[in-house]
């Protein structure tokens, strides 16, 4: 049995722990981002100073300009946009099909959920190396358009799209579909003209999530686009080979889509974002 005094002491300690944890979270989230932003606007020579400067002494926009002026960087930005858009559209289309079947039949539901968890068991490296060989034999390995990578990303994102859409297809009352049957609509037409429009909010969510999945994906991009790089592998090479300024500017630009989603769109998307987390 706790005496009141002891309970108060425990409460005090817990409260202190909470404050410390909150401070830690704020620092862990903001300080690194500040340092990245600082590096992106300071000349490289100053970034290499020792001990490191915590505030920029000189400001420059050269790194951001180089992202759009240097051919390699500009084409990587465009390629990443294209790959992410194409893969999001394909994954959402196929994911919508799978989610609809999952919402209407228990067999499809079992197949859907087990394929979703089965995909998670495949290590990227075990797929990507042989996949490169297969893509090369079809002639879409490391193309300037990045179409091969877009297709791979689409396959990776189908589970995310399906899980995002599943709940909204389940929520559509069967009476609506039955009414359409009686009016003579075919199942495909019901899907296209009734179910999809009703699920349009989730479709937008799925498109955004699949876009971000592809935009952030590093492993397959590194192995499949060896010379025509997308942003994540390009950032890797810039970081490892010491181009601090452009790397920081690139990293800041890369953060924009995902951070917008989490900060601006808020809680409804957060759960979905974690559903699709994969390496």
């Amino acid at each position: 049995m706790n005496t009141p005094a002891r309970g108060d002491r425990i409460e005090c300690v817990l409260q202190a722990a909470r404050v410390a944890l909150n401070a830690f979270v704020l620092i862990a989230a903001t300080l690194p981002l500040y340092l990245l932003a600082k590096q992106s606007v300071t000349p490289e020579l100053e970034t290499f100073a020792w001990p490191p400067h915590w505030m920029p002494h000189h400001l420059t926009l050269a790194h951001f300009i180089s992202v759009f002026a240097v051919n390699e960087l500009r084409s990587a930005v465009l390629r990443s946009l294209g790959v992410a858009t194409i893969s999001a559209v394909i994954a959402t289309m196929l994911g919508a099909m799978l989610a609809h079947a999952m919402a209407r039949s228990s067999f499809a539901q079992r197949v859907g959920f087990s394929s979703v968890s089965g995909i998670r068991l495949l290590p990227m490296i075990a797929v990507a190396i042989p996949l490169g060989i297969i893509l090369a034999s079809v002639g879409i390995y490391d193309t300037p358009s990045g179409i091969g990578l877009a297709i791979v990303h689409a396959a990776l994102a189908i589970p995310t799209a399906a899980l995002t859409l599943y709940a909204s297809f389940v929520a559509i009352p069967l009476e609506i579909e039955e009414a359409a049957w009686i009016d003579g609509a075919s199942p495909l037409r019901i899907f296209l003209t009734i179910d999809l429009p009703l699920a349009r909010a989730s479709i937008a969510t799925a498109l955004i999530l699949c876009f971000i999945l592809s935009w952030d994906e590093f492993g397959f991009a590194l192995l499949v686009q060896q010379t025509n790089r997308t942003l994540p592998p390009l950032l890797y090479y810039y970081t490892v080979f010491g181009n601090v300024g452009p790397a920081s500017a690139l990293a800041l630009l890369m953060m924009i889509p995902a951070v917008c989603v989490v900060v601006a769109l808020g809680p409804s998307l957060r759960g979905a974002l974690t559903a699709g987390s994969s390496r």
Partner: protein
């Protein structure tokens, strides 16, 4: 007569609906299998090919000390990472769901590291932990000796990799546990309070048992993901600093130009993930049947 027409039409429509459902399941699944499963199977076949079918690729691996280190690290690093993520994630989930402490700002800040692309987090971590990075800068300013956070083959580098890996994904664990915490009915806390339970007793006998399904789920999902660790090691230390199976396989393929040995190494990783993953899923299923409460 009219009723009969409707009914026969509805069975026809049912058949059509079933056909459509079959197509809707088969097309996406074939796409995923063709792009992800078939390459892995192809890799499995090629891993047994060493100028003809043989086990030579695997035999070579087990004579390579780098491979053995990668194998050991591939258990140590994910284990450490999951432990750190879990402790931090649970602490964050408990603080953020405590009623008096709810704060949208802190919550957004806590989720932010996951919203940032992994490669950006790693770029940042490299600038922080490199020999002349910000962390050593801060240490030097405080007048203490700098530490080699990323020095190859050191336990310290392994610790750095674990911390950075956990930094990025702790928010996932936190969100999963928060979702679990929100399903615990307030009445249980009320009852515990009326029975005179203190903070720790409430946590031990109400929160923890009710949260168990979410904990098991989070540990399995994160465990599977953590085993596949690749980019954290590659960006922070290079493939040889703290080798894990993925980076070892990558450097065999990319630097050493030995694709078949690379595939053998990646197949061992695949076997490891599958075994641990299935073991975890079976355990979770048994657990959820006993508890009857896993979502």
């Amino acid at each position: 007569m009219r009723l009969h027409r409707i009914r026969s039409r509805s069975t026809a429509v049912n058949a059509a609906a079933r056909r459509l459902r079959t197509v809707f399941v088969v097309v996406p699944c074939i796409f995923m299998i063709a792009m992800l499963v078939l390459p892995a199977l192809n890799g499995l076949v090629l891993s047994f090919d060493h100028d003809g079918p043989s086990l030579a690729n695997y035999r070579i691996l087990f004579h390579d000390s780098m491979f053995l280190r990668a194998l050991a690290n591939n258990l140590l690093v994910p284990f450490g990472s999951v432990v750190v993520e879990f402790i931090l994630g649970l602490a964050l989930a408990l603080t953020l769901t405590a009623r008096r402490n709810r704060s949208a700002l802190i919550e957004t800040a806590a989720i932010l590291p996951f919203a940032i692309p992994e490669i950006v987090i790693l770029t940042l971590a490299r600038y922080i932990f490199m020999p002349r990075g910000y962390l050593n800068g801060a240490i030097a300013t405080a007048g203490m000796p700098a530490l080699p956070w990323l020095s190859p083959r050191s336990p310290l580098a392994m610790l750095t990799v674990i911390v950075v890996d956990a930094w990025h994904v702790t928010p996932v664990v936190m969100l999963m546990l928060m979702a679990g915490l929100q399903t615990i009915p307030d009445e249980l806390y009320e009852a515990a309070r009326l029975d005179g339970a203190g903070t720790f007793a409430t946590f031990r006998f109400v929160t923890l048992p009710m949260l168990m399904p979410a904990i098991v789920g989070a540990l399995i999902l994160r465990g599977i993901d953590a085993l596949r660790i690749f980019s954290t090691v590659l960006v922070l230390t290079g493939p040889e600093g703290v080798p894990v199976l993925s980076t070892y396989s990558y450097s065999l393929w990319d630097d050493a130009q030995k694709p078949h040995e690379a595939m053998a190494a990646s197949m061992i990783l695949a076997l490891m993930v599958t075994m641990i993953g299935f073991g975890g899923l079976l355990l979770a299923r048994r657990f959820s049947r006993e508890e009857g409460a896993l979502a």
